[in-house]
């Protein structure tokens, strides 16, 4: 379609909106881990595809999980 974009751009929808998940809990680290890179950085919205509302919730809860040593601040 658009020449500027390399390859086909996948249409991304916020997974939380699709699944109608309203609760994001810092204790559910398996779910949160998907939104971090291997180094433990929080993925940006443009990569994760989350909507603003859920990205905010994810970010908040990843930070909580980090505080409680459930997730890493940084790997290496």
């Amino acid at each position: 379609m658009m020449q500027k974009r390399r390859g086909r751009r996948k249409k991304r929808v916020c997974q939380f909106c699709v699944d109608k998940i309203t609760v994001i809990d810092y204790k559910g680290i398996e779910k949160l881990r998907r939104f971090t890179s291997e180094r433990g950085k929080i993925l940006p919205r443009r990569v994760s595809g989350n909507c603003a509302k859920h990205q905010r919730a994810v970010t908040q809860n990843i930070k909580r999980a980090r505080h409680m040593a459930l997730m890493v601040y940084t790997a290496e």
Partner: protein
């Protein structure tokens, strides 16, 4: 009264009942500031994602309680003084709890009448089954996300 959830990490190298002693202190604090303990979720000993005070393991406990809004501040400031508590975090839980209950109920209603039209007892069984299966299916569905997610990530760095 507001509902709060307090997560506590106690050091794992205490003598046998050391953990219970520390938890009793916290429970006493909650009680002292007008809180009512509703649920205690023990995760037990767990490897921490990074060492805290040179310790790699901690005993995790999550206490759900309801208390007046000024209580958590008092409880936290006093918890901070307990040396064997490595970390703690209080989170408001009331609105979270309300939303937790809603979505699964919808799912149950949709599937139950179709599958179990006969006995009431059976219906209950089916309801329970679907409730248990649901999160698994959910996870599978969302698991596709990371694959997509990782590709562009590599480009970034």
């Amino acid at each position: 009264m507001v509902k709060y959830e307090m997560g506590v990490i106690v050091r794992a190298d205490l003598p046998e009942d050391g953990h219970a002693v520390e938890m009793d202190k916290i429970k006493a604090l909650i009680d002292r500031f007008g809180g009512t303990i509703e649920k205690i979720d023990e995760w037990g000993r767990r490897r921490m994602a990074y060492p805290i005070q040179k310790m790699s393991d901690g005993i995790y406990t999550f206490i759900t309680y309801s208390a007046p809004p000024e209580a958590p501040r008092e409880i936290e400031s006093r918890t901070r003084l307990i040396e064997n508590v490595l970390r703690f975090l209080t989170v408001r839980k009331d609105e979270v709890e309300a939303t937790v209950v809603a979505p699964p109920a919808e799912v149950v209603e949709a599937s139950a009448p179709v599958e179990a039209p006969e006995a009431v007892v059976e219906e209950v069984a089916v309801v329970e089954e679907t409730a248990v299966e649901e999160p698994v299916a959910e996870e599978v569905a969302t698991e596709e996300a990371p694959a997509e997610v990782e590709e562009p990530e590599a480009k970034d760095e």
